[in-house]
Each structure stands twice: as C-alpha cells, then as structure tokens.
Point group: C2
Chain length 82, copies 2
C-alpha cells in the first residue's frame, strides 16, 4: 500500500527558500504571484495491506523522523488503489 | 487562483536523499518500507481567475525555472475552489 505524506512549513514560519523562488520568478517576469509556499512530498510504499495500519505506520514515521512538528505541518494520504 | 505543482525525480534517476531517508527509517526499526520517493511541492497563489490561463502560467514557470525536466517529472493541479 502506498502513502503520500505532504509536509509544509507552518504558515507563521518564515521560509527563505520559498521567498527566494518567488523572487527568482519575479525576476523572470512572472509578476502575477501573490504567494508561494514550498513543501516536501514523500511517497512510501509500505508492506501493509490494511489501510488503517498503513496510516498509523506513516504517522509514526512522521513523528519519529520525517516531520519537525515545531515548524512543519503534515498530512497523510493513503492511496488505496495502488 | 491557486496551483499546486508536484515535482518528483524521474524513476530512473538515483535519488541519494530518498535513499538516506529510507535508511534512517530502517535504522529506527521501520522495516516495512518497500520503496521511498521524495519530491517537492510548490503551492502558488496566482493573480488569475481563468483556470486554463492559470495552468498555462504554471506550466511556463515550471519550464523556465521550477523543474529540471532532464531529471524531474512534474504535474500541475489547479485548485478551483480556492
């Protein structure tokens, strides 16, 4: 079963990388950008057939390593049909 | 209008960062992982009300800066209701 984990910096956290990307786009002439956020996406294929267990397993990986919950928010999406 | 851009390394490209994450998870006792891919996600709020134009605008930004199409694949999702 595959789980997709989306990780974004919390809204109130300043993200210098997102700022740099926005500035580069502006410099290239893209002036219609109001806001830009950059996040990480981790797609994991887990050896687990139960949806709830897969979710729990992903949540545990997030808490133990993948997400820094002080500065990041995350969401877990279990991809059923894969 | 918001567009979400998902960027992943192409399947055939070796991704040392993904490998390192997988190894760290293994070291923490997570042994059910078959495969792990790491990608980027960029959420851009564009000053544009037409869905097709927003998509085109995002595509142009991908081609000019955001995506290295030699080693990365991308998909653009226009978020209609935001």
């Amino acid at each position: 079963m595959k789980v997709l984990i989306n990780i974004f910096p919390k809204k109130e956290i300043l993200d210098p990388e997102a700022k740099a990307i926005k500035k580069s786009l502006n410099n290239l002439g893209f002036n219609k950008i109001n806001d830009l956020e950059k996040g990480k996406q981790i797609l994991i294929s887990i050896d687990e057939n139960d949806e709830k267990n897969a979710f729990k397993y992903a949540e545990e990986m997030c808490n133990k390593l993948l997400v820094n919950s002080t500065i990041e928010d995350h969401e877990i999406i279990v991809l059923k049909d894969r």
